[in-house]
Amino acid sequence: MTDPIFIERLPAAGDEWIDRDQRLCFSFEGRCHRAYAGDTVSSALWGNGVRLLGRSFKYHRPRGVYSMCGHDANVMLEDGETPNIRGDTTLVEDGMELTAVNTVGSLRHDLAGLNDRMSGFLPVGFYYKAFHTPSWMFPNWERMIRGIAGLGKVNPAAEWKPSPKGYDACDVLIVGGGPSGMAAALAAGRAGGRVVLVEDTRCLGGSLCYAGATAPESAATVNSMRDELEKLENVEVRLNTSVRGCYSENWLAFIGPGGLTKMRATAVVVATGAYEQPAVFRHNDLPGVMLGTAAQRLVHLYRVKPMQRALVLVGNDYGYGVALDLKAAGVEIAAVADFRETIGKGELVHDVKTAGIEILAGQGVYEARPAGGLVGIKGARVCPVNSAGTGLSTSATNVNCDGIVMATGWAPAGDLIGQAGGRLDYVPEAAQFRPGELPPGMFAAGRVNGVFGVDARLEDGEHAGGQAAAFAAGKEVPARRRPADEITAPSYPYPIIKHPKGKAFVDFDEDVQVKDIVNAVKEGYDSVELVKRYATVGMGPSQGKISNLNSSRVLATATGQAVGAVGYTTFRPFTRPTTIGELAGRRFHPDRRTPIHSRHQAAGAVFMHAGAWLRPEYYGPLVRHQAIVREVQAVRRRAGVIDVGTLGKIDVCGADAAEFLERMYTGRFSDLKLGKCRYALMCDESGVVADDGMSARLGDDRFYVTTTSSGSAAIVREMKRWAIIWGLEVTIIDHTGQFGALNLAGPESRRILGRLTDLDIGADSFEYLGFRQAVVAGVNCRLMRVGFVGELGYELHVPAQHAAVLWDAVVEAGQPEEIMPFGVEAQRLLRMEKGHQIIGQDTDALTTPLEAGLAWAVKMAKPFFIGQRSLKIIAPRPNVRSLAGFVMHDSTVMPAECHLVVDGDEICGRVTSIARSPTLGQVIGMAYMRPDQTIPGTVIDICVEGRLVQAEVVKLPFYDPSNERQKS
């Protein structure tokens, strides 16, 4: 391997972010590089003289450092594991092996670089204008286009790593640890209450960390504020933490070292600063052209000399400070070109003049002169400008330089304000947007608020901190006020110079040029939202942070409107792309287990998911079919026991309990006697079957109701909702998780139960549909005599902690009869033999009780129940379909559930349940069909894999039609 590349940095400075004692090695595009701990990939590479850091998305143009703060969407890397790693903000780790995303061949010899030469053939929205004729060719074109598009590659073998998540709450949240944020935190902190300050980068200070000549005394200010903050115990500072979204009611999401934090803040101070905005001119995208703050970050944080000789293009006084910083870092300043005709009189300007730097007033950059292969620049052509953004090429002069540093203006980092529903208004004097009306509990301070001077930012922050603290404490909030600010016009209104040959980029993520926006407008896409969608401005990974403002400016000019009238596109989360892993956290997948779960395991149960529950499907070790047959036979011949603890179990109590059930369910319950239970069917308002269960009377004002396993949560919710709407005196207590339950069924079940209880359970004393509360196996138990599976049977409900004891006792007591536990599948078969419907399987989203053979459970004469009104309308009409039983005489072709019942072309219905019945030795099923087909003896056609098979309709139930067994 070759020696790692390393170029020594500028002399150490106090506040640099690199640790010169720790040297790291990493590779980029197959070459080894050295870095210091604390370097980002971009700072290390740029420091080592690498200028080609990535390629653009569409034209594959060379790109380098641009913002150095997370918006360099063209410096995207991958390491075989993670796609789309940001070079400008990702710290170098020892041993990293990185390549640029989306190149064909290599970054240097990127064959797709050809796209740049073809750019004339690829106008705005070009893909809408071609590739679709002839249509049979499109899939090929699409495959090609998909291959060219996209950035990083996913690694399908990458392993999932859980990521932590936390909840938090505070009185005042301050977003951004710059001077205004720190001042706000101090003010809010002194007022008491819990204050949290989050800062995206590794230290407090914000822009003052790299302000250099633009804010000379800043280090001392930051240090003393940091010390002050440390003294306040109620203030927590979280570094390396970035707020990604602001949702309703100040619910914020941040990502930090502890993963995702969800914070509910009573008040929020947005002190997120400003995004520096580029100037637009031909070749403004090439390596070497960068934002002033990017150059300052390189110099002050990483001690990298950004270039040898710079042209500094400014539209404000700040840029003069940048020029001074660069000069101090040993960069030769070719000139300062100032868009403004009348340059400022501030100190920085004065210092630049004193330093003998040439100032070109009223001049902008007409174009950058590319170096070979477009990898870098070798100069700039500077020309006088007028405010309409036309540069005059004829009078352009050459300036030799290898870097153009732009300090022409800002856009507020107002994402969170926009997400929270606040507005940004364009302020023509400042040539930029500023927060307008803010949502309740949200305050803004500092540069995001359009305040730029350091003292003014401190004052603004302090005021906002005070406002937030007052809001959080429920006190009167001091009025909003703007501090006096020595910096009045930080942005140049139109830092854009058209070029007849184009390549003047507005959006770097998507390679959108000035002419693309102008042409989009010509085509009728003349509002910000339409331009965004057609020209894709702001649609890339940086979401327009350094392009939206210029896009609005170009659009305003092209449509003859003011920038404020053009506006901006909607702010949406995330402020910064956020990984799926961080959002997913630990991925919580609870499985619900009944209290008898361990017994099923021990008995060799094969489990299935039933909603969130795990239930025994059948018990091994036999294969599925044999096991089910064995279980069915045990129930029919002797006895079986099944865990039904997943049923919804609800106590309905209160003076109006009976009235409440009368309204919720279709049947009658006010006349239900103590010690009795009854089938309960529920419909929705359109008369569609919604749920069923049993309802038992525990007392005058108390019922115990069961629901289906899958319906329980929804039914409890519905009951509570209706109880409130109707204003009835009733309390709903959900016992679903608190009670376990089992069903003991089979001809021998009375004998077995008798061994466990003193209760008189004789056929006459505890009759079918009786209900008792008694001690069984030493446990207080609710007993219902029910017959879902069509045999003598008892449902036993006990507190969950005793359920396993009861189960054991029943299994033990049933030994002489060879009792057998049975699973969901055997139960399904047993109930079908008995012709009982399963809600959700034998009914669907439109089934009425009349169609499902449940009319007997509907008491239309009641004054009211949910769905009654609808059923009254439906009842007089003939049914469209009806559920009926059928048998298959030829069972070589077995239909499956949901195969259709057809009559010629007509779909008459579908099979809802079907199985081979071990009891009857026949294939039996239930199906919807045309009502005229339900007459026993009718032969229906079922369509199985395109073949019609015949079945004979029979009367339900298949088993024990006289109910002798379940009533015995």
């Binding site: 993670t82 053939f121 809408y128 399908p156 085509e523 009728g524």
Partner: protein, 413 residues
Amino acid sequence: MPHRLLRFGLSKKYNEPRMFRSPEQLKKSYDVVIIGAGGHGLATAYYLARDHGITNVAVLERAYIGGGGTGRNTAIVRANYLTPEGVAFYDESVRLFQDLSADFDLNLFYSQRGHFTLAHSDASLRTMRWRAEVNKHLGVDSELVDTAFIKEKCPHIDLSCGGHAPVMGALFHPPGAIARHDAVAWGYGRGADQRGVEIHQQTEVTGILVEGDKVTGVQTNRGTVETSKVVCAVAGYTPPLLEMVGIKTPLVIQPLQACVSEPLKPWLDTIIVSASLHLYVSQSSRGELVTGASLDPYPIHSTRSTLDFVEGLSGHLLDLFPFLGDVKIMRQWAGLSDVTPDFSPIMGLSPVEGFYLDAGWGTWGFKATPVCGKTMSYTVAENKPHPLIEPFRLSRFKEFELVGEKGAASVGH
């Protein structure tokens, strides 16, 4: 390089004509006023002009073309519905979509990917079989497939679903497609505009004039216009408009959210839907994962995003694609869905003469854009419902003749 792009490289000037004009003023009267320049409104205008010769038409839009559900949806097009009425209707739309790029001479990136609806339980396997059977019976390409088949078409999927609720099979619908949603609106808009229809953006309808029980005009923020026919094609904004004419419907407005990832190289060719996981995902031709869930579980007229949504969705994405942990979500958003109790639309005539409804699009209306245009234009021109939309009449709720599509529409969109 397709030859169609040559003209751009070879010409000095940019000679592309406007897609749609922006007329200065509203006329005094129109034969038909369409409210809403979403896909449906524009398609209705297009076919009114093209197929029925009715060109004195204004489409009024409160914001910008395609800014409602049309520009927010996840652009899944399919016909594997559950009811014969639904299948016939959406199948016609799929057919129309297939020719639309050529029809418009605008590439809609209509991309047939194949659509899987995964089943993680017996119960959903049953529903999938039901849909497959109905679809096949009606001639729609749709099949219940096993896990091996899913794995073959989508090799990176984790069928064990992280061990939680393993995939047991799927409904596979080969014609399932995605498209560039905005372009659909633009294409219809351009076609309508070329045929004389006026599209007025930034024009909000604030009132509907009714005399007796007949429509006579509409009021807007830019003045009043006379008309005897109004088509209401405002999807998520339907309730306030119906209030203006006093029509009651069982529509409920619920938000529906979605999000996109950063662009990635292609790795997912199919559309994957899982109702149990409340998840669907496809990869756009730009390389972004476009993904969403089921409706927000409460009615509210708000398009604000929620964190819950994207957290839940992320977890479920990892259930199926555990390697996506380091992939970043770039943006999330929300739209309004006008949901009906039976998950089918409300279309056709209304109790007010001259007021035509195209509503109840919930989470499923993008795919219906062409067929809506076709059938609504017929309905308006003939003043009688097109046979394909007869089952979707408003009165079906009174008559209890619902077209139950919940099982096929609630997450699949």
